[in-house]
């Protein structure tokens, strides 16, 4: 459910070290038509540790951060530019280490 016609809710999931810093799951209320970049900025604003974990000094997303939207991996410039829809699930996590 949206708060107003000009905003939307996205569901954030974080895993491994990111989960320990950010929490496992939470929602963000952001302006309609926001991109992943807005989500990252909102999360980075939560704490210096979150900012250092996710962003370079110029605010761009660090290369090792993996992003999935609705369980689909996002690559290339879309890691920041992809425009989100109300109710989207955005998962963020560090490189995998299974097996």
């Amino acid at each position: 459910m949206t708060e107003s016609v000009n905003s939307m809710i996205v569901n954030i999931k974080a895993f491994a070290r990111f989960r320990e810093v950010l929490g496992s799951g939470f929602t963000l209320d952001i302006p309609m038509d926001s991109s992943i970049k807005t989500v990252i900025q909102e999360i980075a604003n939560r704490s210096p540790e979150a900012a250092e974990m996710l962003c370079e000094e110029d605010g761009t997303l660090k290369g090792y951060v993996i992003i999935m939207v609705n369980k689909k991996r996002i690559s290339g410039h879309e890691r920041e530019s992809l425009v989100l829809l109300d109710g989207d699930e955005v998962a963020i996590f560090p490189p995998v280490a299974g097996g």
Binding site: A16, K71, A91, P94, P95, G98
Partner: protein, 135 residues
């Protein structure tokens, strides 16, 4: 069978199940908790995605190497030294395809499936960096 599980893995059961009349070779990979001075490890997964990834990887391997069967059982949760983390069982008409298929599966899992390991050492704790983590 393709699964994430919190229970112990019965390796022999899956090997026996892979024996069919058309199978000439079965190759298994067993990932085990190594004693690097750890007390235990905990594996965490993005479960919905990891399960679908394992299913996709098994299908790719079957098609790519003309395999008869693939089982992938990956544990999550707490494990001790010596416990089985991962079992891959690949059945094929001939050994070469079975070896190549098994190697493809473990390499692809390590590269892309969202699972992480945290080691609890006598001196503290640390997340294991992935093989594909940046330097």
């Amino acid at each position: 069978m393709i699964a994430l599980t919190k229970g112990e893995i019965d390796i022999q059961r899956y090997i026996e199940a892979a024996k069919t009349k058309k199978t000439g070779g079965i190759v298994t990979f067993t990932g085990v908790v190594r004693d690097d001075g750890i007390e235990h490890i905990i594996l965490e997964a993005y479960e919905e995605v990891a399960e679908q990834d394992l299913i996709r990887i098994a299908g790719e391997a079957i098609n790519k190497f003309s395999l008869n069967s693939v089982d992938i059982i990956h544990r999550i949760g707490k494990m001790n030294v010596g416990d089985t983390i991962l079992l891959i069982v690949v059945g094929a008409p001939h050994r070469k395809a079975a070896f190549e298929g098994c190697e493809y599966i473990i390499d692809t899992i390590k590269e892309s499936v969202p699972i992480w390991k945290k080691e609890y050492l006598t001196t503290g704790e640390r997340w294991v960096p992935g093989e594909h983590a940046p330097e």
